[in-house]
Structures are given as structure tokens and as C-alpha cells.
């Protein structure tokens, strides 16, 4: 079975919400749509207070290069355009919409029929991805139109679909594969043709045998889709590790996947691509896992972006347990802890993961015993313990020379550290300092 070679850990999988079918969460009375739904600059609002909007109407336009369009997830009246506190409590520009009815844009095909044929030229596909505000749904929310615009002089040879879902707890990708395998395969075919590559490889961790079987069954009807079962090892779904596992190639330090002829997309993204290209539906919905060991029920749900975390909780588990210690958006290894449940969800959110107080609390830090476990766990072959001491001593330049920027922040070092040192935190701080230093030098 294919896998990446170096480092990695095996956290408890906890895929306890595997069997919960995707349920639809009703729309709230007031929706707040952040303009920062993606990596890069925020979109510029193109509506004003009092404007009427429909579902799928453009409300935030991508004006910077690294940016993506934002569409209204609901129909109603724009109440105001002003910053709101996001999930981390930070103020972010947003459009507030008072919901009235559920009137969709006429261009959107809302029929349940599956549309297979796509005759669009590659350039038109990329243009449509941009128009529909598609971003990568694997966590980084990288604007898809930039990813699929292969730069001059470079050639894509592999399209790799990331369905590893190596993060503990998360099951949204699994549910999408189980319920929308055909749409996913159509989406993959569209992307494959847009890139002009012969084969697309779908990497799925072998702890999802049903998804592998389902995808294999459907992929048979399509040309050039190969399902690759992968070993269960974290971070199997990290971009560089996945490329290594599937193709054996290694993305060099500071380079992008396209430099070794690879393009990687998340499986959730391919479903969004299908909807955008074939159904004219912009990215206004998100599939989230609501899970946690202590929760009475487990859920996978379809929410419009802009629904608050509190609303999702209300419509799934009712209320958070009294012993809740931490709420995470994303998996336990790379997800972000959130503090403001009244914040609206955005395109990249993959889960509402509720952790118990005892589970959430980090054990106190003790002295480093130079055991080297962090080094052996690092999938990038780096030396986390060294970064830790360099960052503490403020030796930013040495940290840069020790390739701190190669770190993918997967968290394997902290996970395996017997001294409970916040290694990943320290490395992030070091990376920020190195970037600031490089920016100052320019």
C-alpha cells in the first residue's frame, strides 16, 4: 500500500461520525458573510446597505490576485457592511444580510439530475472556477482558479485528488464520497481535462474501505480515474506527503507541487467544481462534521456559509455539553481552536469538533530530554527541538538556515514530544519571524 516514507505518527482515528448521513441545516434569520473566506486578500464588497440579494449573487468581488469571489448564501436585504468578529474574535470585513425567503439566481440549476457532459475549454473552466469563487476545501482555502492556471513553462503530469482525510474525527470527505461519488468523478474529469493530464489519482486512506469500494465502482464508468488506497498514517493527506505517496516525487524546498508536475485538490473541492461547472452554483455551501467523544449524537451536515457555529450546534446536538473545554474547526492535528461561537462559518470550515475539558488541556511542559522523537516524527526530516531553542534564543537567521520554512505545521512533533513542549507553536512563531525578517530585507 502506498505511503510517504519519512516520519509521521498515528493518532487515534476517532471517525465516530462515519455513519451519519449529511443533513441540511436551516438558514438563520440574519446571515453574516465574511469577505475573508479564503487564503489571501479579502474580497471587496459590491453590495450596499439596503440592496436586495438572491442566493448565489455575487456580493464580494476578487480584486487582488490572491483572492476569490464571495456569493450570497441567502436571499434578502443587505442590513449593513461592517466588520464582525470571526471565530477567533478578530474583526474581519463582512456583509450582513437579513434573510427573506429563499430565492435563488435563475442561472443556477437546482434540479437533482446529474449532468455528465462538459464541453468547456480549459480556459473557460478556469474562468468559471474564478467566477464561482471556488477555493480548496482541504483546509488552506487556496483559490482554485490560481491553482488550475498552470504557469507558462510548467506542465502538469499528475492530478491528485486528496481524499485521505488523515485528520482524526473528520468524516465530511468520507460522507461526500459515499453520497456523491458520481458528481465527484464528473468534477475530477472536468479538472483532469482542464489540466490535460491522462490520469487523476484519488488517494484514500485504507481506514475507509467502503469509500474506496464506492469510488472504485463509480470510477470504472469514467476514463482516467485511478483510486489509490493509502496506508493509515498521519499526515498522509498533507500535500507534499500525498504527492510523495502517490507519485514517489518530492516537492523541493520552497517549491510548489506544479514544479514537479503535480496538482493536488481536495475531494470536497471536486464536488464544488462539479456544482459550479455543471450546475452554475457558486460555492455557498459547506459540509461540516459535528463530532466529539462526549457528544450524544454525531452529525455530518450541509450548511450555507455564514451560518453561525452556535446555530449549527443548536440544530444538531442542541447545546454544547457543560464539560466542553475546546471547540475546534478542523481536525485535532491541524484544526484551529475557536473562541467565538457566534461567528459565521466560512468556506474552509470542516468541522465543529467538541473536546472535553480533560481532553483539551495540554499537560505542563517539562524539560527536553533530547530523545529525538520530534525529529523521528517529522515528515519533512527537520529538527523541531533545534527550532525550539533557536526561536527561544531569538536566533532567527539560524532558524532560517536550518530550513524552518520547510515545516508544514502538521503537529507531529508536539504530538510525539514526551516533554509536552509546544514545539509546533514555537516553530510557527519562528516561521513568522523569518518571514518578517525576509520581508524587511527586501
Amino acid at each position: 500500500m502506498k505511503t510517504f516514507k519519512m516520519g509521521g505518527v498515528h493518532p487515534e482515528e476517532n471517525k465516530i461520525s462515519n455513519d451519519a448521513a449529511i443533513q441540511v441545516i436551516p438558514v438563520g434569520a440574519q446571515m453574516v458573510v465574511l469577505m475573508n473566506q479564503h487564503l489571501g486578500a479579502p474580497a471587496t464588497p459590491v453590495v450596499q446597505k439596503g440592496d436586495k440579494v438572491k442566493v448565489g449573487q455575487l456580493i464580494g468581488e476578487a480584486q487582488a490576485f490572491m483572492c476569490a469571489n464571495v456569493h450570497s448564501p441567502v436571499s434578502g436585504t443587505v442590513a449593513k457592511v461592517e466588520p464582525v468578529k470571526d471565530a477567533f474574535g478578530l474583526l474581519k470585513p463582512a456583509v450582513h444580510i437579513t434573510v427573506e425567503g429563499d430565492e435563488w439566481m435563475e442561472t443556477i440549476d437546482r434540479t437533482p439530475d446529474i449532468k455528465r457532459e462538459c464541453t468547456l475549454e480549459p480556459a473557460a473552466v478556469v474562468a468559471k472556477l474564478k467566477e464561482m469563487g471556488i477555493v480548496g476545501l482541504g483546509g488552506a482555502t487556496f483559490p482554485a482558479h490560481i491553482k488550475y492556471s498552470v504557469p507558462e513553462g510548467k506542465k502538469a503530469e499528475y492530478l491528485i485528488i486528496n481524499a485521505a482525510e488523515c485528520e482524526p474525527y473528520l468524516t465530511s470527505d468520507y460522507r461526500v464520497m459515499m453520497e456523491h461519488a458520481e458528481e465527484i468523478c464528473i468534477g475530477i474529469s472536468i479538472l483532469r481535462k482542464a489540466l490535460g493530464v491522462p490520469n487523476a489519482y484519488v488517494g484514500i486512506e485504507s481506514n475507509k474501505p467502503q469509500a474506496i469500494a464506492r469510488m472504485q465502482e463509480v470510477a470504472r464508468q469514467f476514463e482516467g480515474i485511478v483510486i489509490e488506497p493509502l496506508k493509515v498514517k498521519y499526515p498522509q493527506g498533507a500535500e507534499k506527503q500525498l504527492i510523495n505517496a502517490v507519485t514517489g516525487r518530492k516537492v523541493p524546498s520552497g517549491k510548489l507541487p506544479i514544479d514537479v508536475g503535480c496538482v493536488v485538490s481536495n475531494v470536497g473541492t471536486t464536488f464544488a467544481v462539479y456544482e459550479a461547472i455543471q450546475k452554475n452554483k457558486p460555492l455557498i455551501e459547506n459540509i461540516l462534521t459535528v463530532t466529539g467523544k462526549k457528544l450524544p449524537t454525531q452529525h455530518n451536515c450541509l450548511v450555507r456559509i455564514g451560518t453561525t457555529f452556535a446555530d449549527i450546534v443548536k440544530h444538531t446536538i442542541g447545546e454544547l455539553p457543560a464539560t466542553t473545554g475546546k471547540v475546534i474547526s478542523g481536525g485535532t492535528m491541524m484544526g484551529k481552536a475557536i473562541v467565538n461561537l457566534d461567528a459565521p462559518t466560512v468556506k474552509g470550515n470542516a468541522s465543529v469538533l467538541v473536546m472535553d475539558e480533560g481532553e483539551a488541556r495540554r499537560a505542563p511542559e517539562t524539560a527536553c530530554i533530547r530523545c529525538g522523537k520530534c525529529m523521528n516524527a517529522c515528515p519533512m526530516g527537520l529538527e523541531p527541538y533545534l527550532f525550539s531553542s533557536l526561536v527561544k534564543a531569538g536566533r532567527t537567521e539560524e532558524a532560517q538556515q536550518s530550513n524552518i520554512l520547510d515545516c508544514i505545521e502538521c503537529g507531529c512533533c508536539f504530538f510525539s514530544c514526551p516533554a509536552n513542549k509546544p514545539l509546533t507553536d514555537e516553530i510557527r512563531l519562528g516561521k513568522n519571524r523569518v518571514r518578517a525578517m525576509m520581508a524587511a530585507k527586501k
Binding site: F88, L90, R362, L429
Partner: protein, 310 residues
Amino acid sequence: MTQQILIAVLVLGAIGAFFAVVLYFVAQKFKVVEDPLIDEVADALPGANCGGCGKAGCRAFAEACVAQGNMDGLRCAPGGEPVATRIAELLGCTVEQGEPQVAVVRCNPSFCGEKRRANYDGLTSCAFAASVFVGESGCAFGCLGCGDCVAACQFDAIRMNPQTSTPEVDEAKCTACGACVKACPRRIIELRNKGRNNRRVYVSCVNKEKGAAARKTCDNACIGCSKCEKVCPVSAITIADSLSYIDFTKCIACRKCVTECPTQAIRDVNFPSPAKKAEPKPAPEALEAPKVEVPKAEPVAVPQAEPAKA
């Protein structure tokens, strides 16, 4: 026997003489001509290498002074006047001293344990905490409480108050080197003139949220109501982005703004008695305010640092 001793002495002597000659020529060849004045200036400096002057360290500062021949644009804040006079003497120039300054933390210690909105469990670093979330106080502008400023201070002049999770400056030790100002990711620390008798008035808040939102975040936030601006007799106060700022070069420390401020965001320090409230009827928030004042926790150097009492 004598012969052996003689040979040994001669051989060693010859080797010694040979290396002496070699050393002499090497020393001549690689001689570094350095102005001895640099050493003298460096000796006069405090030697803390705080970097407050913008140079890499005290030695670099001394080099810059000597290279320039005067002290224009070069200022050693920790050394203050005595050091400046001494260096001016050495360089044979005159020196103009600015007003003595001190670091001022512009955030009200308004969140004691029970007022926290989250529990930060990560790396003890403000810079890192700022990249993860808003801060335990829930204020996107306020103090994060991890003490990057404390770590940056070379003079042990800034300490964390464990009760308020906000730093406090020891005026006696603060040299206004500015290391804490640079270390703070929220930029809440400012160097302000010490003022006559160390008496200062400043807006202890940098929250730029609109009034209602700011009030919701913190009881002592500046809500940009501009009452202080109106009452100021010397127009030292400006309001921008719903935030008031007192220009310390204009302020005459009359404390009218202190009594006027509805949220007690303006603080006066080192005055003999707290300013009297002009209005006898305080706002309901002001009534609650004493809860968040922690006069006992103030360092000795700022005995009158508490906000105005109703």
C-alpha cells in the same frame, strides 16, 4: 651537563626570537587602526546592549558617535543626561537633551480572572497568541498578557501583574529604551514624556472599535465620545477611529478630561489626590468600575495610578 642546559636555552631562545619577529610583522600587516575614543565612549555607556538607540549594541553606538563627531540624532535613552554629557565632553560637542520619557502601557487592567473570555493554553508568547486569536480579554486591540514586553526589557522595569494579566512599568527603572514598544504585537506601549513631577495624563486604551462595540468588549474602553476633546483647554486631544489620543507635548495635566471620561479610560498618574468627578451622577458602568481597579496591585512607584473614583 652545562652544555646541555646551554643548548636547551639557546634553542628555545632562538625559537622565541624567531616567532617574535614573525609576530611583529604579522601584527604590523594586520594592524587595525581604531580610534581610542571609541573605547572611551563605549566605557561611558551603560553597556546593557538594549538596542533602544537603533544600533546593534553599545559598541556600535559608540562607533557611530565617534564617526559622526557629535551626538546629533544619537540618543542613549537608558544613559539619560549624565551619559550624554559625558559623551559630549569626550567628543567635544554640545548635546541637546530631549524631555525624559517613560514607557506607558495603554490598556486598562480590566480583566481579572473571572472576566476572561477564553483560556489560552498555548505558547507563552504574545506574538504567537496574536496569531491564534483575539486574546483572553476578548479585545482585538488590548493586551494579550503573555509578557513579550517583560522578556524584552533589559532593565527589569516591566512586570506582569498576575491579577490583571497586564504589564506594569516601574518608572524608577524604566529608561525609555523602547524595547517593549517594539516587542508588543498590539502596540499598546508608548514612550511618553515623564511630565512635571512625573505627573501624566493619558488615554489608557487603544481600542478602535465603535463606541457600543468597544463598550461591549471592555468596561474601560475608549468609546470615542469626544467629551475629552471638548473639555480640553489646550486642544491636546484628538479623536480618530473612535479613539482619543492625548498629545503629551501639549497636555498641561489639568485633568479635566479625566473627570469627564465616562468610561474612565483616561488615567492620571502621580497626582497627589484623585481627580474629582465633575458630575455627581456617575454612569452605571462607572459604578461597577471599582471592581476592576486594583490599587493594591500597583507597583510602589505609581501609588496614585488608579483611575478616578466616583
